[in-house]
């Protein structure tokens, strides 16, 4: 009998020959309620079902070499999110896409599969921006006050948000009305934003340094309109993820 160690070592010796592959997927409908960690587990199983020759880590509980570009919140849909995997041989991308699509659930679709050239940074570290679409779950349009308020907010020179001062709070140094809230101008991190009756769309910074939550901007707009926004009333859809290339934003599957 071949022992566990022997086989696992063979796989790890081939580390240099591994091929990096980027998978773009969409997620809509009830499956949006599957959280990030569970969705990772879902993908691990789908990859086994599709019999993709993915690379495994060493040790007694080998895990697949896989990383997601970024987490998707519970309840958020996506038209374009990404994960990178490493496989043992150059794949036929169209076939891999079809084989995966045959073993996923309703609401999940593999949009494309791309082989990454050597030295491509992984999806997680290259995310620079994200596009979003937000609309009312009840299917109604945003009302006129909101549309007018959006005009004022989005055309102003600043976008001031107020955040809880987590640092001070953590250290027990937060004083109410003095330093418990910090203000920030996020204008430079919002690249595009538009609100029509149907939806609020935006392209915002999604890097680890300057990540902007789209709901924050919508909250500013509602506040300007003098209305309360209940985030539970809004559906968020991520449209795509972008990286920077020569000062331009390109989608992550553009390599």
């Amino acid at each position: 009998m071949v022992s566990g160690y022997a086989l696992k070592e063979v796989k790890s010796l081939n580390r240099d020959n591994r091929i990096k592959v980027r998978i773009k997927f969409s997620k809509h409908g009830p499956v949006k309620f599957v959280g990030h960690l569970d969705f990772m587990r879902f993908f691990q199983k789908a990859i086994r079902r599709a019999k993709i020759d993915i690379a495994y880590s060493e040790g007694f509980s080998p895990h697949q070499i896989m990383s997601f570009a970024t987490a998707l919140g519970v309840g958020v849909e996506t038209d374009g999110d990404y994960l990178d995997i490493e496989v043992m041989s150059t794949p036929d991308c169209v076939r891999m896409k079809d084989e995966l699509n045959a073993v996923v659930v309703d609401g999940v679709r593999i949009e494309n599969v791309t082989v990454l050239p050597d030295g491509t940074p992984n999806a997680m570290s290259s995310v620079a921006a994200a596009g979003y679409k937000l609309y009312r779950r009840d299917g109604l349009d945003f009302n006129d006050e909101v549309i007018e308020a959006a005009d004022r907010v989005l055309n102003s020179d600043t976008l001031i948000i107020r955040k809880e001062n987590k640092k001070a709070k953590k250290k027990g140094r937060a004083i109410e009305g003095v330093n418990d809230v910090i203000t920030m101008d996020i204008k430079a991190h919002v690249y595009e934003a538009e609100l029509t009756g149907k939806a609020f769309t935006c392209l915002v910074d999604a890097s680890s340094a300057g990540n902007v939550r789209p709901m924050t901007i919508l909250e500013l707009i509602y506040a300007e309109a003098g209305l309360e926004l209940d985030p539970l009333d809004i559906q968020i859809v991520r449209c795509d993820l972008y990286r920077e290339e020569n000062g331009r934003l390109v989608t992550l599957d553009h390599v």
Binding site: M1, G29, P30
Partner: protein
Amino acid sequence: MRRQALSDRILMQVDKPARYTGGEYNSVVKDKSRIAVRFVMCFPDVYEIGMSHLGMQILYGMLNTYDDVWCERVFSPWTDLDRIMRDENIPLFALESQEPVKDMDFLGITLQYEMCYTNILQILDLAGIPFMAADRTWDDPIVIGGGPCSYNPEPISDFFDMFYIGEGETKYRELIDLYKACKEAGEDRHSFLVKAAGLGGIYVPMLYDVAYNEDGTISSFKPNTENVPSVIKKEIVKDISGAYYIEKPIVPFIKVTQDRVVLEIQRGCIRGCRFCQAGQLYRPVRERDVESLKKKALELLNNTGQEEISLSSLSSSDYSKLEELVDFLIDECNDRSVNISLPSLRIDNFSVDAMSKVQDVKKSSITFAPEAGSQHMRDVINKGITEEHILKGARLAFEAGWTRIKLYFMLGLPGESNEDIEEIAVLSDKIAREFFDAVPKEKRINGPVQIVTSASFFVPKPFTPFQWAPQDTKDSFREKAYILRQAVMAQLNQKRIKFNWHETDVSVLEGILARGDRKLNAAILRAYKKGCMYDAWSDTYRDDLWMESFDECGIDISFYTTRARGLDEIFPWDFIFCGVNKEYLKSEWLRSKEAVVTPNCAVKCNGCGAAAYGVGICTERG
């Protein structure tokens, strides 16, 4: 996209919303316009527990092989959603169609432990189905119970239209055909129930009357309707290898308790431990054919993509082709980077070798279940192992590199003395000494030995030789746990032994319900109405409300727990024939008092009665 029963707004507010949205890989959605009978299978606990249950997956798969039937699932909504559903009048729904449970033809509830009884009432309540079977009409589903607790269905007899006694693979087709015929012929619900009672294996509580003696024991139990059997004979799968087994298990999105492929290698157990209900209920032992198991293992891994496979049986070491199967799995699973878990193995050369191949000795622990500390008590319970076996097993594990050992014991076994209790600590200490003896200092690279000694409290169960035994009181349980704790602290290696014990309250309630009679129905309903639910969860268990309910219903709990039962007493469950005769259990009870060991089925047939089924070990053993 499937319409959801719960709005996004609600789903965003509850913990783990994917418990309620269905749509998992391999879940079955059918075209309902082509379906004659809608079945919903319920595990009355939270999704993660229910989805870990093999029996439910088998029946789900089997029922969905019928073209005219669509079987769906439902679990107890967790307390957060429970509140919202009550506030907003949202009816309980099945996961697959997201349609109301009340609109189904059958609601099958699996009864795996007594502590789920209030959750059954939660299910009925949220579904809008009357609690009492007697109040239901054709507008309500047929509520059918099954699983181990249906071997004493009396405490919950009012809430069920029928119980299926025995293994689910055999009678559902007939039952569903009968249902269809009765509906087509325009017969009333009662007449369907009477006919169902004649199918065999089906117990319809409302067709039986119970009379009591002045002391509260049963004087008679008999049918009140003609053509209804007075004894219900357990259903059993005759050809276990040929019987239906899951092909495409559902793959949950969220992490469930058993997040792996489960391969049932045999049903039943040869051992005959006197406290163990499963060991009696599932007799005779029937092994699955090893070649078909190998094929099945690969099929299940391919169809699910699971990264772990586990063998299931009451005592895997007794499976005759275990080595062949495990070797096969180790080979195949290595190629696929699949983990193997090997529970319920006796610790011997083979199993230590196999486990060291599939587990990381540094991270995992080895489990022993001596159940009792002294040889005397192990003989009383017919455990069939000696201290020498245990120490030898521990030594093998230590030599293979394990340092963590888990030990399971029971407190409150019949005839237990303080010395017997202290022997648990002594045995734990001897195992620690075995480590220091077996592993020289320079080889203790994984650190020193860590022993976890866990004690649960013994609860006598129906259809065991201990069904006559008085159960300890709460105070006595606590006292015994204290004695054991003191004894552990007095050991040389006490710092290497961690001692845990179970909740005492819950063990007492389990004891009441396990050997309860029809009089308990009212108290269970009352406890539920006071807010009891999820009694198996220590955070939600409300002992005060339970005790109040018993008081208000005029129930003296000692009647069910500490009372010594007469040898000739009629038990509430005596109308069921599970294969093992009452006379046999009685002789085992008497032998236990003398601490006389009874050999297992593989060594000698003791004439328990299960040979009446003419299958498995009863026929193979010449």
